[in-house]
């Protein structure tokens, strides 16, 4: 297990140059649009409408950012994106937390407490990873109506947990499949119960997969537009829906610089999660428990 990360294929100088060239071009391809957004978000509107999108700003200003955050017209209210940002946070944090914990529990049961037809159950859970969102919109709306959660943040949390648990189960099941069952047996003999084994033995060794799962769930739920647009209304809408409303507001001139700033604001949290959590994306925590 520990030797894998030190091995790499040796390549020749020419191959290596091509690899770097390709990586450089790819990086530019992805960074250029972001760069243009950043560039135009710090220009006054006049410079964009009257000039070149690619030009460097003549006057540097953060007015567009302030407007996007707190004063821009979103729908009918001049609130900026701020309240919707908090809506998204209130939705994403519980949804990511609950779906990750449930996925970890499912993975634990599906690998260490096997029962009859467990693989079939797992297969059925995997379906949720492949069912397109659009198919479930109407039944989901109906269910949210029945349980009295339609139009609320709690409803969105429920929807995202239900959708997220398939993927998080897949991640944890595969991770725990490689987790030595002897450790669970040793803990059983030591007298640890079902949940004690889970949070004293398995969870502390699950760092890498928790990070993977959190990054994945956070990005998906934060970026979701369809569920947000369908199941949340008005002031309860998440950031993505508010951004759309900001850009679609038809009154007055199109404030491109505000739109660019708003779009970057909407993308920042996922970027941040990746940069912060990615550092803990380390393998090899299991080394030493079992000779490998």
């Amino acid at each position: 297990m520990s030797s894998a990360q030190t091995q790499s294929v040796r390549t020749g100088r020419v191959t290596r140059s091509f690899i770097y060239l390709f990586l450089l071009v790819s990086a530019l391809f992805y960074l250029l649009p972001f760069f243009i957004m950043l560039l135009n978000s710090v220009k006054p509107l006049g410079e964009i409408t009257g000039g070149n999108m690619m030009a460097m700003p003549e006057v540097f200003t953060l007015e567009a950012w302030k407007a996007a955050w707190s004063t821009a017209q979103v729908g009918v209210e001049p609130t900026g994106l701020r309240p919707y940002f908090w809506n998204s946070i209130k939705m994403v944090v519980p949804a990511v937390f609950i779906s990750t914990i449930l996925g970890a529990l499912n993975g634990y049961v599906l690998t260490k407490w096997r029962f009859k037809y467990d693989t079939i159950l797992f297969g059925l859970m995997l379906f949720s990873c492949f069912i397109p969102f659009q198919i479930v919109l109407i039944p989901m709306a109906r269910i949210l109506g029945i349980v009295g959660l339609s139009g609320s943040t709690y409803g969105l949390i429920l929807v995202h947990v239900v959708y997220g648990v398939g993927f998080s189960t897949l991640y944890f099941r595969n991770y725990y499949a490689a987790f030595p069952t002897e450790l669970v047996r040793a803990a059983q003999i030591d007298g640890a119960g079902f949940f004690q084994i889970f949070y004293r033995i398995l969870l502390p060794s699950s760092g890498p997969i928790i990070v993977v799962c959190v990054i994945w769930q956070f990005t998906n739920i934060w970026n979701d537009f369809l569920f947000g647009a369908s199941f949340a209304s008005g002031s309860g809408a998440p950031m993505t829906v508010a951004l759309n409303n900001l850009v679609q507001s038809s009154t007055g001139v199109k404030e491109y610089n505000v739109h660019f700033a708003g779009a970057i604001l909407a993308a920042l949290p996922t970027l941040l999660v990746y940069i912060v959590a990615g550092r803990y994306f380390v393998r090899g925590l299991m080394a030493g428990s079992v000779k490998g």
């Binding site: 030595p180 002897e182 450790l183 040793a186 003999i189 060794s205 925590l285 030493g288 428990s289 079992v290």
Partner: protein, 371 residues
């Protein structure tokens, strides 16, 4: 009733029975080794004693209490696993005391028990380390420490030495034996290594295909194997098994065996009752160390037979020289002194110690007993 009693125990997975009517009883302080090739059911039996596998029928009792259905943590057993199964997120000290913590032992007592065990196993300086910082031998000690600290009725070892390199394995084997002699605890130990079985145990259960083939002291298992499987499984190199015919000459039964030179030699049996097998085919079992050169023969034996045969291969191992010849059309290995002068192709005078020979019925593969 003995200390650990395995009474008519069977194990089935669906309709497939993997353990058949196992009866083993272990006295307090005994070191029982379950030995057999992989798939023989020895680990399953150990897991059933531990309570990690259900018992299909029969019952297991520990210290006069039937433990069928009792949770592993309440059987007062401790287990050392093949992979050591040390909790990777805990320090050595936490690993050792985890079981006590789960059983609600107060912290000061846990501390004391941990220090006692660490001292016994000489791992005091490791208590603050994580398992990945330990060498194989150190992990092995910690795993034993985790078992010892519980002060259980029975220790269960599941192939604990098979992950160690050859030299360390021999050292740890000695340490386990020392520990047993010091603590006089009841141990059930699973291994596929017949040398571990011979050296460690006070009694051995040889298992094959879900049956206990023979249960006895190491000497009984080695000298009087119950059947052909036990005879060939225990001992390295394996016992030579030669097809032979019983011939009675001068009122004494002999084994008639073909040599490599096309002659037939008569090897007189030490067992008089084999006269009843006159004219019948038998399988003659002779351990390699019972075939030597003339000078190396056992002086205490009353039945050394001289045999001339051609040497096929010699394999000096340093401490011994193994000589392969063809007897009764089978490769037959003799174990000789290291400095014996013998070369491939020679016709050599072998000395066969027939006192040590055992005889098997070729039909049933059971040993033909004396009397």
């Amino acid at each position: 009733m003995s200390f650990l009693n395995i009474n008519n125990v069977t194990k089935s997975y669906g309709s497939i029975e993997v353990l058949h009517q196992i009866n083993v009883s272990v006295e307090e302080g005994e070191f029982l080794v379950l030995v057999g090739p992989s798939g023989c059911g020895k680990s399953t039996l150990l897991y059933m004693i531990a309570g990690l596998e259900d018992i299909t029928s029969g019952d297991i009792s520990i210290n006069n209490r039937i433990v069928n259905g009792v949770h592993p943590s309440n059987r007062n057993i401790a287990m050392v696993f093949q992979s050591y199964a040390l909790y990777p997120n805990m320090t050595v000290g936490q690993n050792i005391t985890f079981g006590l913590e789960m059983h609600g032992v107060p912290a000061p007592e846990r501390e004391k028990a941990m220090n006692d065990v660490a001292k016994l196993l000489q791992i005091e300086q490791l208590l603050g380390r994580k398992p990945w910082q330990l060498s194989g031998g150190q992990r092995q000690r910690v795993a034993m420490g985790r078992a010892l600290v519980r002060n259980p009725d029975v220790f269960l070892f599941d192939e604990p030495l098979s992950n160690l390199d050859a030299k360390l394995r021999v050292n740890m084997r000695t340490e386990i034996k020392k520990l047993h002699e010091k603590l006089k605890k009841t141990i059930v130990y699973v291994t596929h290594d017949q040398i571990e079985a011979m050296t460690l145990s006070t009694r051995i259960a040889v298992m094959y295909q879900g049956y206990v083939q023979q249960l006895g002291t190491p000497k009984e298992i080695y000298d009087t194997p119950a059947n052909l499987f036990v005879a060939t499984f225990m001992g390295s190199p394996a016992m030579n098994i030669l097809p032979a015919k019983v011939v009675v000459q001068d009122n004494r039964p002999h084994a008639s065996v073909a040599t490599s030179e096309g002659n037939t030699v008569l090897l007189p049996f030490s067992q008089a009752n084999l006269a009843a097998w006159q004219g019948k085919d038998i399988l003659l079992g002779i351990r390699p160390e019972a075939i030597t050169d003339l000078d190396g023969a056992d002086r205490k034996s009353s039945n050394i037979v001289n045999l001339q045969n051609r040497v096929d291969v010699t394999e000096p191992s340093g401490s011994d020289t193994f000589v392969t010849m063809t007897l009764a059309d089978r490769d037959t290995i003799a174990r000789m002194r290291a400095d014996v002068s013998v070369a491939a192709g020679d016709v050599f005078d072998f000395a066969v110690n027939m006192d040590k020979a055992v005889v098997f019925d070729p039909e049933t593969e059971e040993r033909i007993t004396e009397g």
